[in-house]
């Protein structure tokens, strides 16, 4: 059974239930129950019309739950006839679901969890495993999120930027447990792009594809991080790169630049270089300038300092770095790198050690420690990085 296909039907089915008058929280539970049943029943008895099957099953679950609830509350049966299905408005429904699940009243972790369940069709258990928390905790997070948005009208227009931030968070979490969150984020962003023609949605999709294309080369066999400059570019997925570039070009042609398009443009320039030495750093610096104007993010300016170091030499990079706040995450790592490029290996080694102590994840700490060890072991500069 194609579980991804099954899950892709989730938003449309949920939308139909809500249009028939079910409230969002109850409808969402019913669809989840129907998905679980489909996973159990379909392999032996595949339906001819999967979507119709799911709608029927979910509606029945909803009625059953409502009956039980009503019976408990008032000992009478209010619901008889099944209303006619609403008009087919799948893509509108899908879009509304994204807005609802990324509603600004939700915390980032709640929005992520609700999006993965209500739009992505993942089970609570799968989401819990992906984020390494107990299933009960994830269930509480989701039910609380549904309560928080209980009064939000389903057809209320939303801000696509909040949806994109949620999808970006899912993608950047990467890969843990059974669920490939990066692949799931790409699937959800594709689905969103099909529902709304917005250059930043395309920008984010392109950004994800271009990074995903490099995944096989990012991690060495021993699990350690491999820096972009020394990645084996033959392992890059050229089909994904071509698709990402094409989506990005179509988005840029609309002339409404946004931060995701600019980030994707930088990723595309890296993807375009057959070897690290052939990277067009001058253009990358220009894109970082665009990005800095769009976001005013200190992290962008930190990355810009690296790019300046490549385009105009390590001294210029260090000069750009000196203008930034040294308490920024990864500031010390960038300083270490630029000092190494400048030939000051002693300072670089010391800064790599310091940066390793400040790293926010184990892979980065190990990477930085290896850099320090490499410099401590041998004096002369290393040409490969």
């Amino acid at each position: 059974m194609d579980e991804a296909l099954l899950r892709s039907l989730t938003p449309a089915v949920l939308g139909i239930l809500v249009r028939r008058g079910a409230d969002f929280a109850a409808a969402e539970d019913a669809v989840q129950d129907a998905l679980v049943e489909a996973i159990r029943v379909w392999p032996a008895d595949p339906p001819r019309d999967p979507k119709g099957w799911l709608v029927t099953a979910a509606w029945r679950k909803f009625i059953d739950a409502t009956r039980a609830e009503t019976a408990r509350k008032r000992r009478e049966d209010l619901i008889d006839a099944e209303p006619a299905p609403g008009p087919a408005q799948d893509s509108d429904d899908t879009l509304q679901l994204y807005f609802l699940c990324a509603h600004p009243s939700l915390t980032p972790s709640s929005a992520v969890a609700l999006t993965l369940r209500a739009v992505g069709g993942l089970t609570t258990r799968q989401i819990a495993q992906a984020y390494l928390v107990p299933e009960a905790t994830m269930a509480q997070r989701i039910s609380r999120a549904k309560k928080t948005i209980g009064d939000v009208r389903f057809d209320q227009p939303g801000d696509v930027a909040t949806v994109l931030r949620v999808l970006y968070l899912v993608f950047n979490e990467g890969y843990s447990g059974d669920v490939d969150l990066a692949a799931e984020a790409i699937r959800l962003t594709r689905q969103l792009a099909a529902a709304i023609g917005h250059p930043e949605v395309s920008g984010l999709l392109a950004l994800m594809l271009l990074h995903h294309a490099r995944r096989a080369s990012r991690i060495a066999a021993d699990g350690s991080l491999v820096a972009l400059a020394v990645q084996d570019r033959r392992k890059w997925d050229t089909t994904l790169i071509a698709e990402g570039v094409e989506i990005l070009q179509a988005a840029l042609a609309k002339d409404q630049l946004g931060e995701f398009q600019a980030q994707a443009a930088i990723a595309a320039l890296h993807a375009d270089a057959p070897a690290a030495e052939e990277t067009d750093w001058v253009q990358i610096v220009e894109w970082y300038d665009e990005l800095a104007a769009l976001t005013d993010s200190p992290v962008v300016r930190l990355n810009r300092a690296v790019a300046v170091g490549e385009a105009d030499g390590a001294r210029a990079g260090l000069k750009a770095l000196a203008e930034l706040d040294d308490s920024l995450p990864r500031y010390t790592a960038v300083a270490a790198y630029l000092h190494e490029r400048d030939g000051d290996l002693r300072t670089a080694a010391r800064l790599y050690v310091e940066a390793a102590e400040k790293a926010s994840n184990l892979a980065e700490r190990e990477y930085l420690t290896r850099q320090a060890a490499r410099l401590n072991r041998k004096g002369p500069p290393h040409s490969g990085e």
């Binding site: 980032p108 107990p134 990467g174 926010s360 980065e364 700490r365």
Partner: protein, 135 residues
Amino acid sequence: MAKYLLLKHYRGAPKAVNDVPMDQWTEDEISAHVQYMRDFADKINATGEYVDSQALAQEGTWVRFDGEGKPPVTDGPFAETKDLIAGYMIIDVDSYERALELAGELSAAPGKDGKPIHEWLELRPYYGSAPTITE
């Protein structure tokens, strides 16, 4: 979305404000303390922020490898060990600020005379996963 470990120490933490050992509390004060801890866990369970919590026994053993084919060497416990962990709670929260807020609340558990202990808890961040997009 970040995990933190809240560490409670038998020894090794700075002195609490209301630093009276539990054996000098009334039974009601002990019950109130236990109830507070239970309510706190229930509360962050309901908010979807609870991951795990455990209390640890006082005694412990030091163990190390002693060469191929030989049983591990054990030693201790050492009464003079400065730092002794009493228990931990793991939380999964949206921000460092939220982690501080919860730790502060846990430290307010009532002790002698029903007043907050103001116990020092150690808050340690987990390493997260390496982000895919950095450049």
